[in-house]
Symmetry: C2
Subunit: 386 residues, 2 copies
Amino acid sequence: MPESPIRKLVPYAEEAKKRGVKVFHLNIGQPDIATPKVALDAVKNNDISVLSYARSEGSEEYRKKLSAYYRKNDIDVTEKDIIITTGGSEALLFTLGSITDFGDEIIIPEPFYANYNGFSVANGIKVVPIVSSIDNDFALPPIENFEALITEKTKAILICNPGNPTGYLYSKSELIKLKELALKHNLFLIADEVYREFVYDGVKHHSIMSLDGLEENAIVIDSVSKRYSMCGARIGCIVSKNKALIGTALKYAQARLSSPSYALLASEAALETPQSYFDKVIEEYDERRQLLISELEKIDNLKVSKPKGAFYCMAELPVKDADKFAQWMLEKFSDKGETVMVAPASGFYSTEGSGKNQIRIAYVLNKESLIRSVELLKLALEQYPD
Amino acid sequence: MPESPIRKLVPYAEEAKKRGVKVFHLNIGQPDIATPKVALDAVKNNDISVLSYARSEGSEEYRKKLSAYYRKNDIDVTEKDIIITTGGSEALLFTLGSITDFGDEIIIPEPFYANYNGFSVANGIKVVPIVSSIDNDFALPPIENFEALITEKTKAILICNPGNPTGYLYSKSELIKLKELALKHNLFLIADEVYREFVYDGVKHHSIMSLDGLEENAIVIDSVSKRYSMCGARIGCIVSKNKALIGTALKYAQARLSSPSYALLASEAALETPQSYFDKVIEEYDERRQLLISELEKIDNLKVSKPKGAFYCMAELPVKDADKFAQWMLEKFSDKGETVMVAPASGFYSTEGSGKNQIRIAYVLNKESLIRSVELLKLALEQYPD
């Protein structure tokens, strides 16, 4: 199993804190947003006396309610097309396990969520990266580039939409290109859509599940973690009309018996979250996003991609090695007893040496902290000796 | 992924219920025992407002408290020797992933917990079974039989102690034989000890972690599921002094981010469960065990193994095919509108054709229901046409 460059920085952050330095965390995907009250209350007011196993694939009631949520989002599925999992992580693990054999390949546009690599290694499969560029905000690479990478071992293309770490939102026409390629070569198209709600500038999110003709090839990975700021619940799901995939994933689910029962209570209740909650949360993220981008753009020689979704943005720094720079900010730099931790992007690339001067910034801090964090980043770049 | 014979019976049980037949479930490992109040209350009284990720390996505080629990059980470990997992299932999945490569082998005495096979398949490794016999209550097979199966691909021996499905409790001298073999061939000895507390007849449970000299080779799989009747929590752990194993398992834990936060609250609080709770629960299980055995022994031509631990027992029926018989009891048999569901043992054997006339009975029902269940089994055997 590979270790992520972010994890490698954690001891340096801990050391900085021991020295009394305040560290602003732009490195993590843990939102500071409150979980909906309806979900918290469902757990507080539970009347469980024997904390029993839940049904391996999730209760019929929860899956029925979930399918109503999907139908509201132009995803026409029933409870039979859903397997509840222990987080989006497990959804991906079961999906990869179900559709690949040892030595198979999946194609993923990079930069990509670092754990995609970990789950692939755990399943004995090979990630074939396809580079996307900060110069067009990490738009879909030319479809010919995908096609050139397809071998007889290729089983799927995996995208994250909106993207972690890029914040890129694929357009419908980009998704249609992927669909046509998947159908032509009989590949699965897997989309991690856990940030579905977090889109800005009035742009609409399109799910791969709403693409006509892709029914047998489309697999959606989902999770309550970001949607309801419930990262600690560990509830997600696999959504697909492909019955063979759902059948195999069910066997994986049965082998691990059950998802966590308290978290299932919270997740089912979370479906009752009022729209006003999302309106407020999305407004907050959007304000942070705009603030962050405008502050970052003030820094000389820094290139920033404008995210259309999720709560991350990628920036290219005027340094050779962002891993070393990020470590230096924790080890050697501080201003008025404060510093900032960012995620070096090297962990999001699987092509050796790619993204060495890039970082990912998560806008999961309040606006005041964001402004100060970017100021610290600016000062650090000015003082960085390399 | 293989499908268990128990799962195959579920639709027949559902059909029986639809016909209005009451089904006594002797087939499952879900106890009817109440979860300790201290654990339930910790969740009811939680003050979480943002349901955040927990630390991937579990909080230091929880692991410190857990290590105190282990020390009380003659297992001398610290928080550094523990990785918290999402159930015992995940503990085993991470352990197998950490110590094996594709195509490696692990030796398991059979009958064994069916999901060991599923987790092995998921990790691309081969289960090499070694047969144990109902005639000596499934005691450890001769150690030469283990040794004869060791190849250069063998990475570990896996035992369940006390055993599911056998109820067998390994003696200290049996464990020492396994230790010597593991050391001689540099194998891991993995023990699933989730039923540690459930031992009867005044016999003591010995952990493989308390065997001198095995420190680098011993890995314990544990879980709160059975101990505190918290199967739905999905919290377990890996315990080992082997730092390389713990380091690799940590990477698996980081890839899936976190165990479920509410369940962690409950599990940490459960460590405060008073001894009186266990005394009462063990007394209850012991009474059921003795009652079940004496009732079963009244049935002609039925052979029953006497369990010393856990809450299962194995029985050999005077039928050719227990899978068919179990299905027949659900499909065709009832007495006064009642029938019984048992677990055919074929799913606990990996040697084709083994255990065909055996079943596993879980004594997770109250005494009255147990008596009636065995009566139903007796009547069914009398009426079974095959």
